[in-house]
């Protein structure tokens, strides 16, 4: 206090400092903010960017993945500065749908998009994004869905538990005003004006690299080098890393990379076990993570890991990514006709969740999850297996229970543990 009053320099500033000190009569601490300090550029403010929210666990800034069900499983959302790796299903149907949900969420929230692909033009990818469900329409449609499902049972008046007739029904649809995480209609396309209003950058590999280029052996595949340079340029030029002081509102860059590691990127990791460029994908992920950590960006990568021949590489890739989600669809496999899985279209495996500035990660205790794509919704649910009741259950389903029990966590009960069945 005394130092402030007697400090030399401008008399005006000393006078104002004394005046503010006398106003806050309780303590000498002054709250930093636009009203306390007179200057324009104050200290760190609470950053409020559209479409983000701080995590309830550690205050980390989170964005939505586009699927509220997936957000919940990942502990609230995707942390800014991390990589979400999706291991594709065999025919790349559901993983591309998750990719599109991510990009559509970016458009709805007004984030900048960067779409990179080696097989499809990014402009075409953006044309096929699903339409967001607006608040007033979607509640009506969900009520319709619920009504259709419950029609056979609603006629029976409750005779014994009649007091429960008054209780309101469980809300399974979306909350009416949700600014974090929107629902999308997979059967409709996003309206053109939303795409035009959004800012996006595309990276289409065949355009950036002429096919007649003589490929010289180097540690990183040429396509990856170009992609990293492109991402770095966008981050620098648009100021996502704070290098150019942004006068306007801060924004998030959403990066989407499709089919990374496929031969179309020039990487032979899917073709051979020990190729020339066996480390280029892992180096790419390492450099990418460095770029993301120092900027306000989030990245989603879909990778055809079922084609990668070297299993050690998959382990390296999992370690180098932050969140890893594997999709396994039932199309074409014998599980499609299995009555155990008849309600679902596939299984979803959360393989890794990061520990960011934390010792503990927000893992849910539910490890066996299935997904299904209904008319408009992509839902992720806990698998409910029917109980193994009698000995005359046919061998195929019993064996399958044992197989699935190997993948189950302890959350499903120890009923079907191991290949030997003990009936109690």
């Amino acid at each position: 206090m005394a130092a402030v009053a007697t400090c030399g320099g401008d008399a005006g500033s000393a006078g104002s400092a004394v005046a503010t000190a006398s106003k806050s009569n309780v303590t000498s601490f002054q709250r930093r903010g636009p009203r306390a300090s007179g200057t324009n550029d104050s200290g760190p403010r609470l950053v409020s960017i559209t479409g983000t929210r701080p995590s309830v666990r550690n205050g980390q800034l989170l964005v939505s993945t586009g699927l509220p069900a997936l957000d919940q499983l990942l502990g609230g959302g995707l942390a800014v500065g991390t990589v979400l790796l999706i291991e594709e299903d065999k025919y790349n149907i559901y993983s591309s749908l998750l990719f599109k949900y991510f990009l559509a969420e970016g458009i709805v929230n007004g984030h900048t998009l960067l779409v990179a692909s080696a097989n499809e033009d990014p402009a075409n990818i953006l044309q096929e994004l699903p339409a967001p469900l607006l608040d007033d329409n979607c509640k009506k449609e969900f009520d319709e869905d619920v009504y259709n499902r419950k029609t056979p049972e609603s006629n029976i008046k409750m005779k014994i538990a009649w007091r429960y007739q008054l209780l309101p029904k469980m809300e399974i649809g979306p909350v009416s005003s949700s600014r974090f995480g929107h629902y999308y209609d997979a059967s409709k396309r996003i309206p053109q004006e939303l795409i035009e209003a959004s800012k996006w950058h595309g990276f289409f590999l065949p355009e950036k690299i002429p096919s007649t280029l003589k490929v010289e052996p180097c540690s990183l595949t040429h396509g990856y080098i170009k992609l990293l340079q492109f991402i770095q340029n966008i981050i620098y030029e648009e100021g996502f890393d704070g290098s150019n002081p942004q006068k306007k509102q801060k924004n998030i860059l959403r990066i989407g990379i499709q089919n990374l590691g496929s031969p179309l990127w020039g990487d032979d990791i899917c073709c051979t076990e020990n190729g020339d460029s066996s480390h280029s994908l892992t180096k790419f992920l390492y450099v990418l993570r460095g770029l993301l950590r120092t900027s306000l960006s989030v990245c989603i990568i879909t990778m055809p890991t079922h084609l990668i021949q070297n299993k050690a590489v998959i382990a390296h890739i999992t370690n180098l990514s932050d969140i890893v989600v594997g999709l396994e669809s039932f199309i074409g496999s014998e599980r499609e006709t299995n009555p155990l899985y008849k309600d679902y279209h596939g299984l979803i495996h959360i393989r890794q969740i990061p520990r960011l500035n934390n010792l503990v990660c927000d893992e849910s205790d539910v490890k066996d999850l299935g997904f299904k794509l209904k008319r408009k919704l992509f839902t992720i649910e806990r698998l409910h297996l029917p109980p193994d009741l009698s000995d005359t259950v046919s061998r195929s389903s019993k064996q399958d229970l044992a197989e699935s029990a190997k993948r189950l966590g302890p959350g499903c009960g120890m009923m079907a543990g191991g290949k030997k069945h003990l009936d109690f």
Binding site: N119, D121, W162, Q165, P206, P263, T272, P387, S394
Partner: protein, 316 residues
Amino acid sequence: MTLSEGARAGTRELEMLDSLLALGGLVLLRDSVEWEGRSLLKALVKKSALCGEQVHILGCEVSEEEFREGFDSDINNRLVYHDFFRDPLNWSKTGEALPGGPLGALRAMCNRTDLGPVTIALDSLSWLLLHLPCTILCQTLHTVSHQDSCPPGDGSPVGKVHVLGLLHEELHGRGPMGALSSLAQTEVTLGGTMGQASARILCRRPRQRPTDQTQWFSILPDFSLDLQEGPSIESQPHSDPHIPPVDPTAHLTFNLHLSKKEREARDNLTLPFQFSSEKQEALLRPRPSQATSHIFYEPDAYDDLDQEDPDDDLDI
């Protein structure tokens, strides 16, 4: 065979070849030593030539005479044959071989000027896979087969491109086969039993579920297709043919189902707490004044109301 049967067989034959050529893009014909695929490749080439498409053949594995054998002259005149069998490394330096080998020929087809529908038959893709790096081959095939999705600037319609690749399954490992399968729009795996050839056709439409069907066929000497029914005896045992879905309520020691009379009797049963519907309605009507809940106790016949407190003899 009557006229209508012949017509129907003809339409079914058309359906199989049409379905293979409908999607465009890369069509993989996977064959093996027992069930060869070159005759199916030639049948598809003949079908495309008869439809008026431009047909290019990259011949690497068999000689030109052997490939052209069995085609009649008008089809032979329509085929544009690039011969890489006789002199694959261009040692004779006569100048008639294309520069760049088969890869150069494929790349030249990427930048074609006329835009009608075109069919490119690769005989065989296995040869190309063994001589070229897999990634470059995949990238080139992708560019060639997806030309129709990038229309040129003047907006004229681009005809469909079909790339037919003959792939010998036994020559390659799982890696290259998986990589090429993921690129292909249609994949035909040839097999068969007891002398009957079958084709398992897997169509990957973009953003839709892949369709999988098996078709039994045989190829006639003039490279037209004859569709057949499967062999009469199912020699391979299926895993789960006619087992009915398991009913867990089947062999229980107690009865879970109710007959109609039993259901009526159950409905007419008076519940242990005597309850009338008026009282139920009265209770169900929401009463905002009461915050607490009430317990309505109606003693039934067996209840014994003891005036003595059983806890009396406890010394509390």
